[in-house]
């Protein structure tokens, strides 16, 4: 693997770009691995990377039914932030943001992490009070967060709809300056290249069709490319977790699969320097501008359970209405593409990184809306769990038994209804 540095870029620029090698191999699956991770999305690849890099576990395979990063890794709005509030989530997402801040150097791969600030619009005194509580908590726990007055917001983003006749007039904003966006494909490719460089086999077009058990142990996986035995198995297949769980004959999970759409417009000249979020009175909308100029935005779930990776039209209309209500200047902008991903919506809106009823099976699931920003820490803590066979204290309550213990990590206070945890 050729390292990326100024010298190599310069030399290859003079020699017709002939000196670059493949970024990762395309190996045949072996019969046996120490650890097999199912799912070569961001979380699975990050897990393999940290297993190899940090824990020295290199006999690892990552199995992917399609192509690397072709699921939700390529179907998100690339927002990275850590403005979480609940104990457990707070430390977890802050750690993730810290990993993001050094990720391009860590991977020797430009993930284009841009800390352009995440601006949540506020529309009522109660919302300002709620944001003050949350953002003060963030400051007290070593993160950054601030409240902007209306004047400060207008100075920073002059073209939002500040009209007095707006249905929900804007009165201020809660801001995390260290938050921002990243290039989603680069994150998948960077982790894949890094893991592969440490000897991890990334096996694409390899769908798991069965889980072989002996008593309380997983012994191997049946796949479309043959049987693969493993000492330890990790599931990181958000969206399809329940199906894999039932292949292992483990029953039901506190998860429902829902789909979420996202959109990108035709490229525009620089228009929006921040990630802007609008959420009030049933509306939910978030928008940023990619480096290519496209406005990248999204809204609510499609509101009914679905495994179909395609969206419905009422949400297209909802999102377009939200877009023009806060950024009326987008009224004539044309939509370039829209897509939909399926995600694990959990019963309290928080994730699972935990041991399972089987001794050598580990679960990484339930990422709801928030899987992209979580990827580095998700891989970090999942690798830590698999290597050491015990949960790190930070994720001690992110297990499947928390509901029985009465520990509900519900940021929104929405209750046990998966579709409401958007």
């Amino acid at each position: 693997m050729t390292r990326f540095n100024a010298w190599n870029v310069f030399v290859n620029g003079l020699t017709g770009q002939k000196g670059w090698s493949r970024q990762w191999r395309d190996p045949e699956p072996k019969d046996h691995y120490d650890v097999v991770i199912v799912g070569a999305g961001l979380h699975g690849l990050a897990t393999a990377y940290y297993l190899a890099k940090k824990h020295g576990v290199t006999k690892v395979a990552v199995l992917e039914k399609g192509w690397l990063g072709g699921g939700n890794a390529g179907r998100n709005t690339t927002i990275v932030r850590s403005n979480y509030f609940m104990p457990g989530n707070r430390a977890f997402y802050e750690h993730s943001l810290e990993l993001w801040e050094n990720l391009s150097h860590e991977l020797n791969y430009n993930v284009m992490f841009s800390q352009r600030a995440h601006v949540s619009l506020l529309h009522s005194p109660a919302a300002v009070d709620g944001a003050a509580r949350r953002y003060n908590t963030m400051q007290l726990t070593g993160s950054d967060g601030e409240l902007w007055s209306l004047d400060e917001l207008k100075r920073n983003i002059p073209h939002l709809n500040y009209g007095p006749n707006a249905r929900f007039p804007i009165i201020g904003a809660a801001v995390q300056r260290r938050a921002g966006t990243a290039r989603h494909d680069a994150v998948a490719w960077g982790y894949a290249r890094g893991a592969d460089g440490h000897g991890v086999d990334i096996i694409q077009n390899c769908e798991v069709t069965g889980v072989t058990r002996e008593g309380g142990q997983v012994t191997g996986l049946e796949t479309t490319r043959g049987t693969i035995r493993a000492k330890k198995v990790g599931f990181a297949v958000a969206g399809n977790t329940s199906r894999l769980w039932q292949m292992a004959d483990l029953g039901n999970l506190p998860i429902e699969t829902h789909k979420l759409q996202a959109f990108v417009s035709e490229p525009l000249k620089p228009l929006l320097d921040q990630v802007v979020v609008f959420g009030v009175g049933g509306a939910h909308f978030y928008i940023s501008q990619s480096d290519k100029g496209g406005m990248v935005f999204g809204g609510d779930l499609d509101w009914y359970k679905s495994y179909a990776q395609r969206g419905n039209l009422p949400i297209v209309q909802d999102v377009a209405e939200a877009a023009t209500s806060i950024l009326p200047c987008l009224g004539r902008v044309r939509l370039l593409r829209h897509w939909s991903g399926v995600m694990d919506m959990s019963m309290d809106g928080s994730h699972f990184i935990c041991k399972t009823p089987l001794d050598n099976l580990y679960l990484n699931a339930g990422w709801n809306y928030g899987g992209f920003k979580a990827s580095p820490a998700s891989g970090w803590y999942f690798a830590d769990l698999i290597a050491n066979d015990r949960p790190n204290p930070v994720i001690a309550n992110h297990d499947l038994k928390r509901f029985e213990r009465g520990i509900i990590i519900d940021e929104r206070g929405a209750g046990p209804d998966p579709k409401l945890h958007g």
Binding site: K305, A308, N312
Partner: protein, 94 residues
């Protein structure tokens, strides 16, 4: 758009309805053990394929419906009223 055939109102766009959730859940007795309640409130089969689910005709007759639908293709196999007594009256006339 999914089209749902409401027993009262006929076939309508799904945007008139609100999705409820898994319609196959049977809640345990009030004095049942805690484990049974944890299962009923928090755990879901989450099938890819045919599932029984509830929908509320919020912008129509406001009846709760039990819909059998494929969660992959969105094909609808059956729709009936969730209220058993009312459902019987609709279907059998008594």
């Amino acid at each position: 758009m999914i089209r749902i055939r409401c027993p009262f109102c006929g076939e309508r766009d799904h945007s008139e309805f609100t999705y409820g959730g898994d319609g196959s859940i049977v809640y345990p007795a009030l004095d049942a053990p805690m484990e049974d309640w944890v299962k009923a409130v928090f755990e879901r089969e989450n099938p890819r394929g045919r599932q029984l689910e509830t929908w509320h005709h919020t912008s129509g007759c406001r009846a709760w419906l039990l819909v059998e639908r494929d969660t992959m293709t969105h094909e609808i196999f059956s729709v009936r009223l969730a209220h058993e007594g009312a459902g019987r009256v609709i279907e059998e006339g008594t």
